[in-house]
Amino acid sequence: MKKLMLTSLVLVFLLSAAGLFAGGEAEAVEDKMIIKVAEQVPNLITPGVWDGQAFSLNPSIYDYLIEMDANTGELIPALATEWTTDDGIVWTFKLRKGVRFHDGTDFTAEDVKFTLERTQDPALGHLKAQDFSVVEKIETPDPYTVVITLKEALPTFMYAMTDYNMAVLSSEYDYGTYGESAPMGTGAFKMEQLIPKESALLSKNESYWQPGLPKADELQIYFVADIDASVSLLEAGEVDIVPQISPTIKTRLEGLGGFKVVSPYQESRFIAMAQDREPFDDNLVRLAFKYAVDPEILAKACQGTLGETIYYNETPIVNALAQYKEIPNRGQDIDKARELLAEAGYPDGLTVDFYYGSDHPYGTEIAQTLKELTAPAGFELDLKGFPRDIYLSQYWMNAPMSLTGWGVRVDPSMLLSLAFYSKGPWNESHMNDPEVDDLIDKIKGEVDDAKRQSYYDRLQEAFFERGTTLNLQVPYLVGLSENVKDYRQPVTMISQLKYAEIE
């Protein structure tokens, strides 16, 4: 028996020793610049189909027609060298010459055409199907020119090209060959090895069109489901970049030293009140709810400070955009809220089912805080939290009240027609307001900036008066080790790791 005991002890020892040696092995690798990222996306990379493409993997493999400058917010040419339109209906894109896909084939107008037409494939369920349904026809007069004719004028159409779903694919793209196991684009990095739900290894695209880029030789991405695990890898020096960390971890990392936390942009959390069903069909109830909310508490619950890291307003337009109109918060007023509720016919309060994705960042915190905050005014929120994908596929769009995360649309009009237009496909609050519809139509067709802005101003006032949504802006935080330089991620959410380097 003692023998067994000894054997097991020896085993433990051997295993530990093996571990130590393994640790040493990694350091022996020659002098390459390697950027290591840990993120929660499992591995999914099919462009157009899932949100996870916003993470590091896709933007490194693929390119877009137009990029956004992370610092200035200006549009900069990428695969398209210039884009022009006269009336907002016919758009001409000139393409960059000499760009090659990772498999050596040339990048041409056919590829762009394929990428755009793919959005309308019904079996795919492309996330941009709605945005591009406005496209009438796509012509390729020569290999480096694409002419797009729209059904109606859309002066901000070029912004649609910056969306993360619009990575330019080779026209030979299909699941079988270039699908999830062997993705291929024109991007700064080439896929070397992909282990789904585990890790991906990317190497520098030596023939990248942008001279001097990418700066790193190798990109290593770990798919770690658990954010805490990712952070511990960062702390242990195993990785350099961890996106989507929580404010608490931010505080910790900053306290530890050797790390920095950046917030490239903010995301929105829309609290939607369905306009077509009880009780929020009555604007008094919506107003009552708005009066019951204390944004400061909400911000604290999200571990931030209102006005510094967290923003709150009653319109869907985020404060970082030029189109935003500053309207002061109405402030919490429980008495007023009760009054309004009584006026609406609910003197004893009311119960509402509140649906949300329980595993989405900030989801649980916001839901629980709202429940607490609005209870004194007479609202009883019945929390219905579901895993995010279940929430989205089964409950979202069909709930009296819901909480959903929204990425930033660089052009707010895209968002408005999607989510607040009465016939909008993602009109989660079932908003049906003639004035808002009218304003959205005007904004989309208006070429003159000042006029367009005046419509935006009026629209935001209308939202303040009778809108169906509350917008909580939460920071998107990325934890970095101190030696990471030039981490860029514009509001398009596309990380531009090609600029990043390790000192």
Partner: protein
């Protein structure tokens, strides 16, 4: 009963176990009503305060909710679910296991095979798959699913207990008296299997607590803001360094309750089964 108390006096482990269990039951019954907070009440002045500060005995979590209050409410949830699952699975197990063991023959063979098959899926995996796919974990669905997941095991125990009594001649005596099957199973045999059945119920009780905590940990258990201990651990895992109490105390609660029940179960086993 007197024997029970005498035995109890001689078993310090059982006394500890029963005391902790009683304490938790008392907490579950009275705790919430003596706490100045509710389990969702947020004290935004005191986010992640250490135990003892700001009027929070065991500190607060990242939303400023009182950890002690949440643990007290949580004891209510977990005790209720665990008790119900252990009772339901035991009752179902007794009915199934007794029928199979009593009638024997093909019924028994089929029963054993079916149980083998169901038992091949670990209860945690079974519950996880069903709850995960349903996506909606209420106290009710959790109770039903965990009960079902545990039923094969309890049925096996019940069947074994019945078989150990079935050979006794008092069963034969009842038969040749013309008693019907139900009478024999539930009036003659059941009281004599009470030992192993009670042990099974108490052991199941402990397992249920671990299972519910584990499901909570995996995120397929109860949904927030229900104060579930396992969920409290996972919810606060990311702030374990900043506010270790938010993880430590729920963990301790789980451990102490499971240990207490296990000690109690051991004692029941000693008194009701081994001494006979």
């Amino acid at each position: 009963m007197k024997d029970f108390l005498t035995m109890l006096k001689r078993s310090p482990a059982a006394i500890i176990g029963i005391s902790i269990l009683l304490l938790w039951i008392l907490i579950a019954i009275f705790g919430p009503s003596i706490s100045p907070y509710t389990y969702t009440a947020m004290d935004m002045e005191n986010q992640m305060t250490a135990p003892g500060q700001g009027g929070h005995l065991l500190g607060t979590d990242s939303l400023g909710r009182d950890v002690l209050t949440r643990i007290m409410y949580g004891s209510r949830t977990i005790l209720t679910i665990a008790l119900m699952t252990s009772l339901f699975s035991s009752i179902a197990g007794i009915i199934i296991g007794f029928s199979a063991g009593y009638f024997g023959g093909n019924i028994d063979t089929i029963f054993l095979r079916v149980m083998d098959i169901v038992m091949a899926i670990p209860p945690l995996v079974l519950s996880m798959v069903v709850l995960g796919i349903l996506g909606d974990s209420s106290i009710l669905s959790l109770t039903i699913i965990v009960s079902i997941a545990y039923t094969p095991a309890t049925a096996r125990v019940a069947r074994g207990a019945l078989l150990s009594c079935k050979g006794f001649e008092y069963v034969d005596a009842a038969r040749i008296r013309g008693e019907n099957h139900l009478y024999i199973m539930f009036v003659e045999i059941l009281p004599n299997t009470i030992g192993p059945v009670l042990v099974e119920i108490t052991a199941r009780f402990a397992y249920s607590i671990m299972m519910i905590a584990s499901l909570g940990f995996l995120g397929v258990g109860l949904q927030p803001p229900t104060p579930d201990w396992g969920m409290m651990v996972i919810e606060n895992k990311s702030i374990i360094r900043e506010a270790p109490w938010t993880v430590l105390y729920p963990s301790l609660a789980i451990a102490s309750l499971v240990i207490a029940i296990s000690l109690f179960s051991d004692f029941v086993n000693k008194v009701m089964v081994n001494d006979k």
